[in-house]
């Protein structure tokens, strides 16, 4: 218990530090005092206000929400599929979302405003197709079937994406930003449209915490306790798909988080109990993405780099260190 509390405390501290850094630092120097004034009062120049309120604040919130969403999505998928390599990529969401976004960028550039919608729609469509195939025929809903169906969908949509990029090579650079993954400072627009998907995903995940613990003891024990294993897996898939598709719509393709954060959290806390792993993955994911994003836009300011490599830079050494210590 003490160990878990220590992990929570560390994660909260990291999250707080990252959030403060995200608001205080950026390509343009704004003294911390002014930042506080702007957030809590009405101080600062118009330029500073614009920077803090319209650029940094929404972006920080987006990073918090997306980081938490991807952490949770990875944790519940790993639990539901009983496979340590499970992540939102496995259920086809990332491939579909990438395809949807690239489709808009390349074939309908005039409708660029619909990019988040395209990513969301195709992300959910890909996940739906995975579930349909995995739930048909024998061994319905078994982990093996889900993973294989996910791989098939990923290959399908990746091929579609590659085909589009090859057919319109000059439009490719715009597509690269999305694929590399990263947040943009575009105010509250996107969050305002996409938040319901996050909300529903978070809610379902919350309700699945205990059932996932039951599932960890096997389908039979879960059934003995009154759960329906297939329904739990389906619910986890739906929640993960919603969270991952909504995340991709806002922040592009960020695969690393959902896979690695739950493992880091498990090793640090020494337990696989979902009552710990799910909330801790939310905190850990949020902290990692906010920290990575802050680095990505301050290290070579005013140049903005994609956030993916920074998350890896922060997360992998920690992961390896914990791996060495783990029994």
């Amino acid at each position: 218990m003490a160990r878990r509390t220590a992990v929570y405390a560390t994660l909260l501290a990291a999250l707080a530090a990252a959030t403060v850094a995200s608001l205080a630092f950026g390509a343009v120097q704004v003294p911390i005092g002014d930042v506080i004034d702007i957030l809590f009062g009405g101080g600062g120049t118009a330029t500073q206000q614009q920077i803090v309120e319209t650029l940094r604040l929404p972006r920080t919130v987006e990073a918090l929400v997306v980081g938490a969403a991807l952490g949770i999505a990875g944790a519940i998928l790993q639990g539901a599929l009983g496979n340590p390599l499970a992540s939102p990529d496995v259920i086809g969401v990332t491939g579909g979302a990438g395809f949807g976004a690239i489709l808009i960028i390349i074939l309908f550039p005039g409708s660029i405003a619909l990019l988040p919608v395209g990513a969301l729609f195709f992300g959910l469509l890909a996940a739906a197709m995975v579930f349909v195939f995995a739930w048909s025929g024998r061994n319905r809903g078994s982990t093996g079937k889900v993973i294989l169906a996910g791989i098939a969908m990923l290959s399908l949509f990746t091929a579609g994406t590659t085909g589009l990029l090859a057919a319109y090579p000059e439009r490719a650079p715009s597509a690269i930003f999305f694929i590399a993954g990263g947040l943009t400072s575009s105010g509250w627009e996107e969050i305002k449209t996409i938040w319901p998907y996050f909300a529903v995903g978070f809610l379902i995940a919350l309700m699945l915490i205990r059932p996932l613990d039951r599932l960890a003891l096997g389908d039979d024990v879960a059934a003995s306790l009154g759960s329906r294993p297939q329904l739990i897996r389906l619910g986890a898939g739906v929640a993960a798909a919603l969270l991952a598709a909504a995340s991709a719509a806002i922040a592009g393709l960020l695969g690393f988080l959902g896979l690695v954060v739950p493992h880091v959290v498990r090793m640090a806390g020494g337990t696989s109990s979902h009552t710990f792993v799910v909330p801790a993955s939310a905190l850990g994911g949020a902290a990692l993405l906010v920290a990575g994003d802050t680095l990505a836009r301050t290290l070579r300011a005013p140049i903005e780099m994609p956030v993916g490599p920074f998350m890896v830079l922060l997360g992998v050494p920690l992961f390896l260190w914990l791996l060495r210590k783990a029994v």
């Binding site: 919350l206 039951r214 003891l217 096997g218 024990v221 003995s224 009154g226 696989s272």
Partner: protein
Amino acid sequence: MGPGGEQSRGGRPPKGLLEARGVEVEIAGTQILRGADLDLGDGELVAIVGPNGAGKSTLVRAVSGLQRPNAGNVRWSGRELSDMRGRDLARVRAFVPQRMPVPAGVTVREAVTIGRSSHLKPLSRLTGADREGVERAMERAGVARFAERSLTTLSGGELQRVQIGIGLAQEAPVLIADEPTSQLDLGATVGVAGLLRSLVGEGLAVLLVVHDLSLAAAIADRVVVVSEGRTVASGEATAVLSHERLAEVWGADARLTEHEGRTALHVAWVGP
């Protein structure tokens, strides 16, 4: 002769907790159960025996609600199985599978606590009563002394006890175990056998699938023989597991004996 009172011996089983008639189950095109019957009463230990593939596991899974029967009816204390939801069933019976997957990073206490979760509403927290229930279950199963150990560090026998403990945490009147001793060594088997008998002594009703006929004879109040998807006999062990029946159902030349509380199966392994 199995232990137990007059009522639990012989042909007429006590009316009670479970009544299943004419259960049929088809899985992936194969007819596994062709009409099996099963009864279970308060405070009795019933052992289900039969050759491989006879349908023993399928029968207990069907009456437990884990496998939907294609025909027949199953009643728990008079209630139709098909009318009962997961939670209702969890209050009525606890199913212990032969081998559950052993997740990493889960302690014995955490696992038994999960067994308690059938008592909890979706988002509510564990109460003091729940925590006591978990302690009780661990004590009864004899695993309280290694409550903080990780499941991955347990031996086969210890793990089987923990599985029983998880089942006990449900605090249901019936415990159903599918071949709990098939993978255990002699010592561990003796331990689990004693545990199950003591639970019956505390008032639990136990339904058990076993391979080992002498074990079944030793601990069961009643033995049910399943062969080719049907229940062909039900009653006291030495009566049911006669030389003729052993030859007919198992195709073996064997004799079951009991002497001074020990049972034994004498088998002509390599012919006369």
